[in-house]
Symmetry: C2
Subunit: 497 residues, 2 copies
C-alpha cells in the first residue's frame, strides 16, 4: 500500500502487451516503513484520532442500499472553534495513515490557520473497503471505485463532521491533496463549491488525459532532470537500452546481465528482458519524482538530490556495453540500496497484491486513462507509442472493464475550467507530472504556483532546513491564499447576519 501515486499510471506504457500487470518494482516499494520518516527527523510525532463513518456503497443508485466503513483521521491540537478552519485531505490511492504522515505541510500550518486537520481515506484503499476482502474479486465488486463516488464520500463526511463536532458547523473547509489526491482536491472544489471554500491541488496532473497535453511530455521532463543533473547522464541512459538488447540476444548475455546487475532471479527470456527494462525505466521515473533537495525516504531511502548522485555513475555513453551496464547497475543501487541492506535486486517476482496496487490499476483502466509515449529523441527511453486499443484489451482481460478515455474531460471540464474559483495548482518543475498540470494562472482565483527546484509535491512535505527558497515562497503564497479564503468566508457569514 505504501507506494507513490503515480507508478501504476505508467504501466500501460512501460510494459506493452502486459499493460496493467503490476511491475516487480512495486514489491520493493511496498515493504518500506514510512511511519519513521517524520519522527526520525526529530519533528513531533503525529497525533491523531481514528474514526469511521458509514458511507453508502453507491451514492448514485438506490437499488443496493449497502454501506461500508470509511476511515478518517482527525488532528485538532491547534484547532480553534472561534475563527478556525478545517483542512481536509482528499485521500488518494493508499492507506490514509501514510498520507497523514507524509503531508507535513498541513501539520506545519495548522497553528496559524487555527485548523482542524482531517485526513479522509479513499474508498477501496487502506481499511476503507466497500466489500471487505471481496472488494477486488470482480468488476461487479469494483463498480463503485470511481472519483465521483470518492468525492461524494468526502462531501457526506464533511456534512457529518459539521453536524456532529460542536463548533465545526460554521467554519470554512479547504481541500488539500497531492498527485491523484490533488486532482481530487481540485475536482472537489469544482463540483462541491458549497462544501469547500477552496482547494490546494499539489502536483495534480488534471490535464494528463485525452490529448490535452502531448503524450510525450512526462518522459521528456524525466529526461530533462537527468540531463541537468550531470554531463552525459541522459545520453548514457539512452545508450543503455541497446546495450541491454545486445546482451539479451544470447543465453550467455542473459546470464551476464543477471549476474552483473545482481538480480535475485536470473533472466531467461525476452519477456524477462522487457520487464527488466520497464523496471529500470520506472527507477529513473521514480528518481525524477523524488529528486528532493535533502535526504528523504518518500519512495526509498535516498540521498539529497539523488539524480545528481546517480549521474555520477553515468558520465560516459561511449564505453563498452559491459562497462555501460555496470555503471547503470551502480546507479540503480543508489535507488535500491542506499541503505546497503539489499543483497540482490528483485525484478522478477510478482508483487503481493496490495489493495492500493489493485485499486489504482482498476482506476487506470476505467476513468483515469493517461496516455504516455516516448520517441527516444526528445526523451532518453526506447520509443513506445500510446496504443489505446491494446490498453483496452489488456484492461478487459485483467478486470473485465474497458476504459472510457473521454469521460474525465466531459466530467471535469478539461482545459475549460475558468468559471471555477479558489483553486491553487502547485507544480514542481522537476516533477514529470507537471507536464499534465496547470502551470499558468487561469484567472485571479485559479492560480498556478511553480517551484523551479521542486519534485513531486515538495510543497506538501514538512518544512526542512534544506528547503530551497522557491518552495518556501510557494508555501507562503499558498497560506496567503488560504487565509484569504478563510477571511472571505467569515466576511460573507457576517454579511448574512
Amino acid at each position: 500500500m505504501e507506494r507513490p501515486t503515480v507508478l501504476l499510471l505508467l504501466l500501460a506504457f512501460l510494459t506493452p502487451g502486459a499493460a496493467i500487470r503490476v511491475p516487480p518494482a512495486m514489491k520493493a516499494l511496498s515493504s518500506l516503513r514510512w511511519s519513521n520518516s517524520f519522527t526520525s527527523r526529530g519533528t513531533v510525532a503525529k497525533k491523531y484520532s481514528i474514526h469511521y463513518i458509514q458511507q453508502k456503497v453507491n451514492h448514485f443508485g438506490f437499488d443496493a442500499d449497502k454501506t461500508f466503513k470509511q476511515r478518517y483521521l482527525i488532528a485538532d491540537e491547534h484547532w480553534k472553534k472561534n475563527g478556525g478552519s478545517i483542512l481536509f485531505y482528499t485521500g488518494n490511492e493508499g492507506d490514509i495513515t501514510w498520507f497523514c504522515n507524509n503531508t507535513g505541510f498541513m501539520w506545519d500550518v495548522a497553528a496559524q490557520l487555527k485548523a482542524m486537520l482531517v485526513f479522509a481515506e479513499h474508498r477501496y484503499y487502506g481499511e476503507s473497503l466497500p466489500f471487505g476482502n471481496k472488494s477486488f474479486t470482480d468488476s461487479r465488486h469494483l463498480d463503485f471505485l470511481t472519483s465521483e463516488q470518492a468525492l461524494a464520500d468526502f462531501a457526506v463526511l464533511i456534512k457529518h463532521l459539521k453536524k456532529t463536532i460542536p463548533g465545526a458547523k460554521n467554519q470554512p473547509v479547504i481541500a488539500i491533496g497531492g498527485s491523484y489526491g490533488g486532482m481530487l482536491a481540485a475536482w472537489f472544489r469544482m463540483k462541491y463549491p458549497h462544501i469547500v471554500v477552496g482547494a490546494l491541488a499539489a502536483s495534480a496532473p488534471i490535464w494528463h488525459f485525452g490529448n490535452l497535453v502531448p503524450c510525450g511530455v512526462f518522459m521528456e521532463i524525466v529526461t530533462k532532470d537527468f540531463k541537468r543533473s550531470g554531463p552525459n547522464c541522459s545520453e548514457t541512459i539512452r545508450s543503455s537500452w541497446d546495450a541491454i538488447n545486445r546482451f539479451a540476444r544470447t543465453g550467455a548475455g542473459l546470464r551476464w546481465l543477471s549476474e552483473n546487475l545482481d538480480l535475485c532471479t536470473a533472466l531467461t527470456n525476452t519477456q524477462d528482458v522487457q520487464h527488466l527494462k520497464a523496471w529500470i525505466s520506472e527507477t529513473w521515473i521514480n528518481l525524477a519524482m523524488v529528486d528532493y533537495p535533502y535526504e528523504s525516504d518518500f519512495l526509498q531511502p535516498l540521498p539529497a538530490w539523488p539524480i545528481k548522485v546517480v549521474c555520477q555513475y553515468l558520465k560516459n555513453p561511449s564505453v563498452s556495453d559491459a562497462q555501460l551496464l555496470q555503471n547503470i547497475f551502480q546507479a540503480l543501487n543508489v535507488y535500491y540500496n542506499y541503505s546497503g541492506q539489499a543483497s540482490c535486486l528483485n525484478i522478477s517476482e510478482t508483487t503481493t497484491s496490495s489493495l492500493g496496487t489493485q485499486g489504482w490499476s482498476y482506476q487506470a483502466c476505467t476513468e483515469m486513462v493517461m496516455p504516455f509515449c516516448t520517441n527516444g529523441i526528445d526523451d532518453m527511453f526506447e520509443p513506445h507509442s500510446w496504443n489505446l486499443r491494446e490498453f483496452s484489451e489488456d484492461c478487459f482481460k485483467q478486470w473485465g472493464v474497458r476504459p472510457r478515455p473521454a469521460w474525465i474531460i466531459t466530467m471535469y471540464g478539461g482545459k475549460n475550467i475558468s468559471s471555477h474559483t479558489n483553486i491553487i495548482f502547485s507544480n514542481g518543475e522537476l516533477d514529470p507530472w507537471s507536464g499534465g498540470g496547470v502551470t499558468k494562472d487561469i484567472t485571479d482565483t485559479l492560480v498556478a504556483i511553480t517551484i523551479p527546484e521542486g519534485a513531486h509535491h515538495l510543497d506538501l512535505r514538512a518544512r526542512n532546513a534544506f528547503d530551497p527558497t522557491t518552495v518556501l515562497l510557494a508555501r507562503s503564497l499558498e497560506v496567503r491564499h488560504m487565509k484569504q479564503w478563510i477571511r472571505d468566508f467569515y466576511a460573507n457569514q457576517r454579511k448574512k447576519h
Copy 2:
C-alpha cells in the same frame, strides 16, 4: 406521459398511507392531445428532426457497459453557424415531443439568438428507456434513474453534437428547462459550467427539499390563489372537506356523493373517500399551476384565469352540505369538463401505468424527496403532517428502495450556491412551486425574476396576445441575460486567439 411535472410530487402528502400510488386524476390527464395546442392558436407548426444517441446506461460505473438510445430533437431553422448559439432543453419527466411543443418561448427567441434548438429526452421517459419495456420491472432496472445520470447524458450529448455538427463546436450552449427540468437546467450549469454558459431555470423548486423552506408553503400559495380569485372562495373549499366527511359516514351519504359528483364509479368505503378528497385537492393544485391569463390546455382545456371561473361557484361556505358539494361539483366541472365532453368524473380507476408516471414516482422515492404539509389554518386543506418514516415505508413497498432526503442538498448545495454564475431563476407568484424556488437575486449573475401574474413557468410558453406585461418583461430580461452570456462567450473566445 403527457402530464405535468408536478402532480406526483404531491402524492405522498395527499394520499397518506398510499403515498406513492398513482392518483386517478392521472388517467384523465394522460389522454389529452397536446400536439394541438400550438397549431390551434395559429402559430407555425413546430418543425424538428428526431435523433438518437447511444448513451451509457451507467455513467458512474464500468461493470455493465450497456448502452441505450436517448432521443433528442433538433430545430435549426434559425440557427446561424456564424455567431449563433445553442438552446438546450434539459428534458424532464415526460415525452420530449410534448415539452418541445409546450416550450414556445424557445421557438419565439430562436431567430434573435440565431439559435439551434435542441430538446433532449430524460432517460426513463418517452422513448428513452434504458432497458426497453423492462425498465420499470424492479429496482435493479431502475437503478440508473437519477438526476446525476440525466445530467451526464446531457453533457455527453452536447459534446457529441459539437463534434458531429459542423459549425456547432465553437458555439455557446444555454440550458433551459421548467419545473423539474428547470432544476436540471440550474444543476447542469452548476455541475458542468464548462459545457453550458448559463441556464434559464423556470419555476424550478430547487429549495423544496429537506427543511430549506417550510413544508406548508406550497399549499399556502395554492390557497392564496383561490383567496384572491373570488370572495369566500378558499373558505368554501375549506368547508367542503367536513361536508364530504359528514356525507361519508353513511351508505346513503356515499351514494349521494357518487351521484351528485357524477362519479363514474360509486364510492363504497373510507379509502374511496380518501381518494376522492385527494383527487379534489389535486384539482385545486393543478388549477393553481395553470392559472394562465388566456385559454389554454396545458393540463386540461381551460378558460382564461380558470380559478376566477371556478370561484364563481364557490362564493358561500355557509350553505348546507348538499348545496356546498353541488357547488364544488360545478367548480370541478370547470376543470374536468370545460369541453363538455365528459359524461362522468373518473376517480376510482387506477391509471394506466404510463412510463412518465412510474418514473417520477420512483424519483420522488429516491432523490427528489419533497416534503409537503398542511395545517388547515394557513391553507384551505385538511391538516396533514409530513411523515418521512411512513413515506419511506411506502416507497420500500412500492419500489424496494428508500428515499435519501439529505442527498440532493449534499449534491447540489441547498441554499449555499452563491459561487455559481449565470443562472436565471424565474418564478410566477401564482405558482405554488415558487415557494420552493429562488425568488431573490443571490449575486449579480444568479438572478431571480418574479412574475406577479404568472402561474407555472408561464414565461416558457409561447407568446400570446393576452400575456400580462410582467411576463413580457420577464422574457425580455431573460433574453437580455442570454445575449450577455453569448457575447461574453465570444469575447472570451476572441481573447484566446
